[in-house]
């Protein structure tokens, strides 16, 4: 397998982008990535796109053709990849494998979702769960994570205040990110007193409904020298994926994501690093409880300890005794445009490890040069992990 690097990244702002269409936003992100990588459209060999449900959200399938068309990149092969909210990082993994294997040299990989065009987003999002055995009976997507939170509180004594600190920190980080959907700060009281969505979760424990697109250029490490300097290449040291049951109720434990454990253990092995060498992480906090669970499942602390670490604000950018978690604001504050999220997470780590000017005001301290992303589909039925590094080793 060849070394694969990221040489460019671009994204739209995430949020309610009423003036832009589905095709506008993915083209905007793609052009920014191409410009950032200093390549030309003719250098590309293929396109991969992560998208959860163009069909339900904008009534459009066959978006692979649509995107190649509107990006002016036909007849390049374009492939759409779907795994609910993990679609983006699965597209990246597909692109990674195609370059590592030697089949392609330069690939554009995007993620996109346009969610604010539909009225009943709750029903559309619920298709990430088991339609016949969860959603049929009235389980909403937030209620699945709410049931994880309730059980976690029961098993480990997590308090609602500790859980709410996750959102407080997310908004603090998001306030420093010009691309974030929410740029206001919040308090524990405001989080707890927000309108209830699925108890014990309030609106302020939930990521928002967002429009957004993000795109990366991945490239063979040798070929990349044609386009950018060494300092502008970030290595993909691991790309892993695992699955689990689609229904939450079928799992032995609902206070851990087994697929996250399996995928991250594989990723550390593939990258040849241990969790203590990771400087910065972007984890999938579609709901605050998932942020806590992922800190544990990725090996950064023991089971049941994440609530205390978050309450002590040790995951904040400015705190040096733990790794920095979600400097972008995460899904909670930066926004969660489903299919775009996995790409946006990796894009943030790419910026962070480069010390890019886009991180001004929210640069994490980089000591060892490693960053990780964990992107979750559904209630944990798919998890995809990437480890990036700024050193050549």
């Amino acid at each position: 397998m060849r070394d694969v690097v990221i040489i460019g990244y671009g994204q739209t702002k995430f949020g309610e982008l009423w003036e832009s269409s589905f095709r506008d936003i993915i083209v905007e992100a793609g052009i920014k990535a191409i410009e950032d990588a200093n390549i030309d459209g003719k250098d590309l060999d293929a396109i991969y796109v992560g998208n959860m449900s163009g069909g339900l959200f904008v009534g459009q399938e066959h978006i692979s053709s649509l995107i190649a068309d509107y990006a002016g990149l036909t007849p390049l092969p374009c492939t759409r990849v779907e795994a609910a909210c993990a679609s983006g990082s699965l597209a990246l993994r597909s692109a990674y494998l195609s370059v590592a294997s030697g089949h392609h040299d330069v690939v554009l990989v995007g993620g996109v979702e346009k969610m604010t065009d539909v009225v009943d987003a709750t029903s559309a999002i619920a298709t990430a769960a088991d339609q016949e055995w969860e959603a049929f009976f009235g389980a909403t997507f937030p209620s699945l994570y709410a049931m994880m939170a309730r059980r976690y509180m029961y098993e480990y004594g997590l308090t609602i205040e500790e859980l709410s600190m996750w959102s407080v920190i997310a908004h603090d980080h998001g306030s420093r990110n010009p691309y974030a959907q929410f740029r206001f700060k919040t308090t524990v009281e405001q989080v707890i007193n927000a309108p209830p969505v699925a108890e014990p979760l309030t609106l302020m424990h939930c990521s928002p409904v967002s429009d957004g697109a993000a795109a990366l250029i991945v490239c063979d490490a040798e070929r990349a020298k044609d386009f950018v300097s060494r300092d502008d290449m970030i290595y993909i040291r691991a790309s892993t994926q695992a699955s689990d049951t689609i229904s939450l109720h079928s799992r032995e434990s609902i206070t851990t994501l087994k697929a996250a454990k399996v995928a991250s253990e594989k990723a550390y092995k593939m990258a040849g690093v241990t969790p203590d060498r990771i400087d910065v992480a972007e984890v999938h906090d579609c709901f605050a409880i998932n942020g806590l669970i992922l800190l544990e499942d990725l090996g950064f602390c023991k089971k049941g300890e994440a609530g205390k670490i978050v309450a002590q604000e040790r995951i904040k950018i400015d705190c040096e005794d733990f790794l920095t978690v979600n400097p972008s604001g995460g899904l909670k504050a930066a926004g969660h445009a489903l299919g775009a999220t996995g790409i946006r997470q990796v894009g943030e780590i790419y910026w962070q490890l480069k010390g890019d000017e886009n991180c001004r005001g929210r640069q994490a301290p980089i000591k060892h040069g490693y960053g990780i992303t964990a992107n979750v589909g559904g209630s944990g039925g798919t998890v995809c992990v990437h480890i990036l590094s700024n050193n050549r080793r």
Binding site: D120, T122, S123, A126, E132, W133, E134, A135, F136, F137, G138, A139, T140, P142, S143, A146, M147, M148, R150, R151, Y154, P195, P196, V197, A198, E199, P200, L201, S247, L248, H249, S250, I254
Partner: protein, 130 residues
């Protein structure tokens, strides 16, 4: 949508799951392959008692369209006494539910399809001695 509902009548009305003759594990909803024994497994129909305990729960305030008239309602994962866990509503007030609450199955109207007007029935659970 009608055919899709018929297909699940046995499971949703009679709580019939499956049991693997090889390892003895019980599954609900039923499966065609035992994930533990795979090709060595052999599955048979198995009727569940419908008694269990609340394993976890939430109170839903923001529902999908078809459930709008029921808000707020209690959704839970129930651990059946035979082992499998299932997702269902608990027919009780939001303030009454707790983890460990003994419950038993009841058959109820679940929802009405807005567009074609089909009424869907299935299981809910109610507190025991209620």
């Amino acid at each position: 949508m009608v055919v899709r509902s018929w297909r699940h009548i046995k499971e949703r009305y009679c709580l019939i799951g499956s049991r693997c003759k090889t390892c003895g594990r019980i599954f609900f909803p039923s499966r065609n392959i035992c994930p533990y024994c795979r090709r060595r497994g052999e599955l048979e129909e198995y009727k569940l008692s419908g008694r269990g305990k609340v394993y976890t729960y939430s109170v839903v305030h923001v529902p999908p369209k078809e459930f709008e008239r029921m808000v707020p309602y209690v959704i839970a994962i129930v651990e059946l006494e035979e082992g499998p866990r299932i997702t269902a509503q608990i027919d009780c007030k939001p303030e009454e539910v707790y983890i460990g609450m003994p419950v038993e199955v009841v058959f109820r109207r679940i929802k009405e399809d807005g567009e074609d007007g089909i009424i869907h029935y299935g299981y809910k659970f109610k507190p025991v001695n209620y």
